[in-house]
Assembly symmetry: C2
Homo-oligomer: 506 residues x 2
């Protein structure tokens, strides 16, 4: 029973996690590097996943009154400079457009020509350009709130890139809202964090901790940054979405002013919140295994693959007809407002076929041969179980039970991830234990360490910086549901003010 399984991905997760990650992406055909430094090509199997993420999240945004819009890709340099902390935070990673045409040089090659009077920055985020519109749209409290989202590409010139996790160009949504009162903006910041958390847990089957960033980890220009943090299978943390309360900082920078109901002029209170194709990286590292990608059904690029088994030419018609009928029946079922997505793979490539779909992470694999058809049954494999563990199910039962089956897989993935996080989270109060927890157990595999530590923290930036320098560990967040702290800071011994989550992070 316990004999060693063959695995489809090399190296194993346990042996070289970063390389395993790249190999899972390659084997599943989600995406690949492009010839443009740090930019990725999202291939159809990966983009379908992103489409499902967009659709699910967009519905949730709209249910809270948010509407989509679109703002320019380019930001005039002068706009970025309006908020001092903001520009400081992004200046080092901006792609800058300086010319608007190409000209033949003396050696016949093309060179940039038509210099711009004011350089344009390719948006790294859009607070300043959207703030300029908001300033025009708002004059009275009756114009508020403004609740806007945009789905867009952004560019941050990263020096070290990794597909989905950190790329120079990535796809994201950025929400921007303006409110008449501080309270309303704070409430919206929290509401959108909850949307992210619910989406991550319900759609991506990725359990998250909702928390607040420390001052040093805040979005440049924000008063308060809330975040969701998830644990990957190497026990490192991934920040999967952030929601910022911007106070009046950007409203002052952009001139978003309104007359309140007492006819006095005030600056609006704004928020912004974003999540990106990084979620795909999080999904991969939460669920995938040594056989490749594992897709949660609610966002899966497809749900079911049908693999007809045709050993003799004279069986072809019968098997294909049965397969196509089955596909038609499955597609008539709905799973969370999408028709069940069915792929038919009739290639004659032997066992490689099933393994390809395992590597691609499709939730359900179905083999259909003449003997199955004889008994009106199908032979079903599930991606949340061992590759070889398959069972024969009467076809009617399979069709009528497909949405329950998908739900069960979705739930199993979530539960497994939650169990993993809980098994790798500790509460610590002693500095020695804290240091030991984050020390690699095997010098050859520095990425493997304890996991998440919940521990008291003094609240001082200097202490936080020391932890980072000494252990490469950061405060991921102060959980929103954390209790008041009355013990001593786990690292410096000063009175503890917060119970923080410490971890190594992406």
């Amino acid at each position: 029973m316990a004999k060693k399984q063959q695995t489809a991905i090399a190296p194993l997760r346990a042996d070289d996690y970063p390389e395993w990650y790249q190999q899972v992406i390659k084997a599943s055909d989600l995406a690949e590097k492009s010839p443009v430094r740090g930019c990725m090509v999202i291939k159809p199997w990966g983009y379908a996943l992103w489409e499902n993420i967009m659709r699910g999240m967009d519905d949730m945004f709209k249910a809270t009154g948010v509407r989509n819009a679109y703002f320019p890709l380019f930001i005039p340099l002068g706009f970025l400079e309006k908020e001092a902390e903001h520009v400081e935070g992004f200046a080092k990673e901006c792609a800058v457009v300086t010319h608007h045409r190409l000209e033949k040089s003396s050696d016949g090659g093309l060179v940039p020509a038509g210099p711009l009077t004011e350089p344009l920055v390719v948006r790294p985020t859009s607070e300043t350009i959207i703030g300029d519109s908001f300033a025009k749209w708002v004059s009275s409290y009756r114009d508020l709130p403004i609740l806007i989202n945009q789905w867009a590409n952004v560019v941050r010139w990263e020096m070290r890139t990794r597909i989905f996790l950190r790329t120079s160009e990535f796809l994201w949504q950025e929400g921007h809202t303006a409110h008449a009162t501080r309270e309303e903006a704070v409430e919206r910041t929290q509401m959108m964090l909850d949307v992210y958390a619910d989406f991550a847990e319900d759609f991506l089957a990725m359990p998250v901790i909702r928390g607040r960033k420390t001052a040093s980890e805040r979005f440049p220009g924000a008063v308060d940054t809330l975040c969701i943090e998830a644990m990957m299978q190497d026990r490192k943390a991934l920040q999967a979405g952030t929601s910022h309360f911007l106070g009046q900082n950007f409203a002052i920078a952009s001139g978003i002013r309104f007359q309140n109901d007492q006819e006095q002029e005030e600056h609006a209170w704004t928020t912004s919140w974003g999540s990106s194709t990084r979620l795909i990286g999080g999904l991969i590292m939460t669920h995938s295994d040594d056989n490749g990608l594992v897709l949660p059904p609610r966002v899966a690029s497809a749900h079911v693959v049908l693999m007809p088994i045709i050993r003799r030419a004279e069986e072809r018609d019968r098997v294909m007809t049965y397969t196509e009928n089955l596909a038609a029946h499955l597609r008539r079922q709905y799973y969370y407002r999408r028709p069940v997505q069915v792929e038919i793979d009739a290639r004659d490539i032997g066992g490689a076929r099933g393994w390809e779909w395992i590597k691609k992470g499709i939730p359900v694999r179905v083999e259909i041969g003449p003997k199955d058809i004889d008994k009106d049954a199908v032979f079903v494999g599930r991606r949340d179980r061992e590759a070889r563990e398959r069972e024969s199910i009467p076809t009617d039962e399979f069709v009528s039970g497909i949405t329950d089956l998908l739900d069960e897989i979705q739930h199993n993935l979530y539960q497994r991830a939650l169990d993993f996080r809980e098994a790798n989270t500790v509460s610590l109060e002693a500095r020695e234990a804290f240091c030991r927890y984050f020390t690699p157990r095997n010098a050859a595999k520095p990425e493997i360490h304890g996991g998440f530590a919940q521990a008291p923290w003094c609240g001082e930036a200097a202490c936080e910086a020391q932890v980072k320098e000494d252990l490469n560990v950061t405060i991921r967040c102060i959980p929103l549901d954390a209790s008041q702290e009355d013990r001593h800071c786990v690292y410096c011994g000063q009175p503890g003010r917060y119970r923080a989550v410490f971890a190594k992070a992406y």
Copy 2:
């Protein structure tokens, strides 16, 4: 009966069409200019329209086997240079990224820093960068066809811009396919043109002519460019979508090679096809009137606005409850796979409210007052009829008939546009009549002229150029269904080879 109507838009279409167009956009709140030269802000009412266009078209693409993907925003200069005609066509309008960060200058301001070794062009179209991926993806005829689409932003640095029609940044889709044979690629080029034509007619209610561009109007690098052309209400033509057969030009430039089934190496045959936010400009100019925007129901940002009429405070609860119930009933109906989209506008701003929705082009307006409720009826106005022409309809009947009503409006808009085009299209054979047809009837309004002329053309680029220089008239296309021509060229008198559609154009 024929007394002069008040209109909501000034100037009238007949008095100043270009300014009328800008005013329709402003009054309907679709979009506005941005502080970035030539770039637009698409506001929520406009973006909802674009979302519906994307959804409708995307479904049609997918039904033909196309899948979405995403490729980098940036194109290395060297890639663009690979296809000589292509780079020639786009060099004059490229935004060029030359630096990857910002640095404080001696006067404290920010200046571009970190010069790139090779400048990057912000994609004006993606043949070359996508071709690079295709070259990696294809090695055998078994890997073909590749059928890819991407929804993306592109930048073409235009000197004279107009919202939706010609902007420096616009949103679009670009399809790219690679095939093993010339025949298959030609067939795909035609198939996607048909998708565009069907979409324009069925969704946008915009009748189009399917045709072929002359050599001088081809996409840079294409062997053949097919297009759909529509007539705007100023009788000018708008090119609303193009589908290009690229032969092997780009496959050679990008190295897309494959082994055919005889184990010989060949270059693939490629196509590309695109349509953009320009479609919104076409929609506006096809249907809108002197009261503002008119939205075809199948893509409308919303279908129905409910306007409760509350004259006394004690009526509020009853009227609002009735209104909300009605909204709930309407939203349970589906119109082309979307739930009927209902807005409730309970603002107490008198007659301005109804006019606002007329200007925004919503297909159906419903007023609900206590007297209507007494007889369980609603007071309904349709955007395809006069603003003042409204009728009382029993509420049950209105709800159960809503999708028929929307369909009727959709059909009426299409028929009206088709009638207009037919009334403003002539067949001409004499040069004198041809010149007169395109001469403005009123020197003060040079944009008003005849319309479309179908006429014989010799096929010579020099003749085509002369027509353009003399009359500012271009050959929009050679209609795909045009009969063989045996008369003399309408302009130069040489033997006519084609029956072409001539028009002034956007």
